[in-house]
Symmetry: C2
Subunit: 210 residues, 2 copies
DNA sequence: CTGCACGCCGATGCGCACGTCCACGGTGGT
DNA sequence: ACCACCGTGGACGTGCGCATCGGCGTGCAG
């Protein structure tokens, strides 16, 4: 009844439980990203992974759960990266740059997963909606905390501004990628974080000369 | 081929062609917005409009075409509004404010239609993807033109910055609405357009006198 | 008054994709 | 070398939703 302590790789047919699971994750991610949730067929995922459907259902109870597992990974990764970026320095200008860099890097590195978070086609499913919204709301809240501290703005205002910046990062990064990365990542980050920093920089005073 | 100049409203069962069509549009919009494309059933739309399915298919060849018709209306409306906002003044600060106001007003006024454009769940369908992307790309290009003129930045850079601002408007407006409009629309627009304007204002010089 | 034509409705076909069963082949133990 | 076992794979049932066909009530002309 103890887990079989297999440590060899019976290549091809037999894989240890966790390796198989990882492979299924990879295949599912590819298919979901390529086709979207609805167009993605469980048959395709199984075929892509080189196994048959029953094994897929031995690892995941259903299509939605599989999707949610992938989604959770991506969401947590983004949130954690933003948290790390905010904590990486005390210089707010650098904070902005690092945070923007998170979005560009994420979009750039995992061309795959970001579509699950930013272009999901299952928003009507509350479980998915909840996860996706959490990304924006959590990251925005983390940013808002810094903003509120440094500007003294009301929480609602800070949240709105933080959401604006986060949204800007998301959209800008995706747009940059879609345009074939005509600019290098660093150039793009410099531009967008410059825009953000100038915008947020002197905010305590709501009206500025000219 | 001339439109039937019917102007009476034979209420209940019989309606003139164009009135019926309008009613179907309304019903379809409600259902698509409430449930998303995939979860929306043609049966629901027909029932919502108080007619049966065959009549629906007498007006539209299929589900997708119906959706596209609604989507086109919304997309054109947004693009046109942004164009109008940019042309409404020569003062760039006011331009930014007016443009941001477009997104907030659109989200606020037609709580219905904006979800089709900003939260569509049919992105895998090229016809839809094309329409939705056109909104961001057209509006961003219009903004980018102004930016490039006034800052002398390269087209790629202007496009990226413009897309950033447009994306900020989209996300901020939706977030504002989701948060139950804790701020008035004008307050929110002031905050976000302030953020944008400060950011874009002195862009030609990459570093600003402190 | 009666026959006709028109347009709407309930009921149906069809295809697709999720989620499960029966027969097979390889593996390890004796 | 034989046998028991477990995981695999192809084939299947089922439910759902898009898209379409025969009956019917209504209004009009003769």
């Amino acid at each position: 009844m103890s887990d079989t302590p297999i440590q060899d790789r019976p290549r091809g047919g037999r894989l240890p439980r966790s390796a198989r699971r990882a492979q299924l994750f990879d295949a599912a991610l590819e298919v979901f990203v390529a086709n979207g949730y609805h167009a993605a067929a469980m048959d395709d995922i199984a075929e892509r992974a080189g196994v048959s459907k029953p094994v897929l259902y031995q690892h995941f109870p259903g299509k939605l759960e599989l999707y949610l597992a992938l989604l959770d990974t991506s969401c947590d990764q983004v949130i954690e990266s933003v948290r790390a970026a905010l904590a990486s320095t005390e210089d707010n200008k650098e904070r902005v740059r690092a945070t923007m860099d998170v979005f560009f890097s994420y979009v750039n590195d995992s061309q795959a997963a970001f579509r699950l978070v930013f272009e999901s086609d299952v928003m009507n499913e509350p479980a998915v909606r909840s996860r996706v919204d959490r990304v924006t709301s959590e990251t925005a809240s983390a940013v808002a905390e810094v903003i509120a501290e440094d500007t003294g703005l009301a929480p609602v205002a800070s949240e709105l501004l933080a959401t604006s910046l986060v949204g800007m990062g998301q959209v800008a990064a995706r747009s940059w990628l879609d345009n074939g990365s005509a600019l290098t990542k660093d150039e793009a980050v410099a531009l967008v974080s410059g825009l953000s920093w100038r915008g947020i920089r002197g905010f305590p005073r709501t009206d500025d000369p000219s």
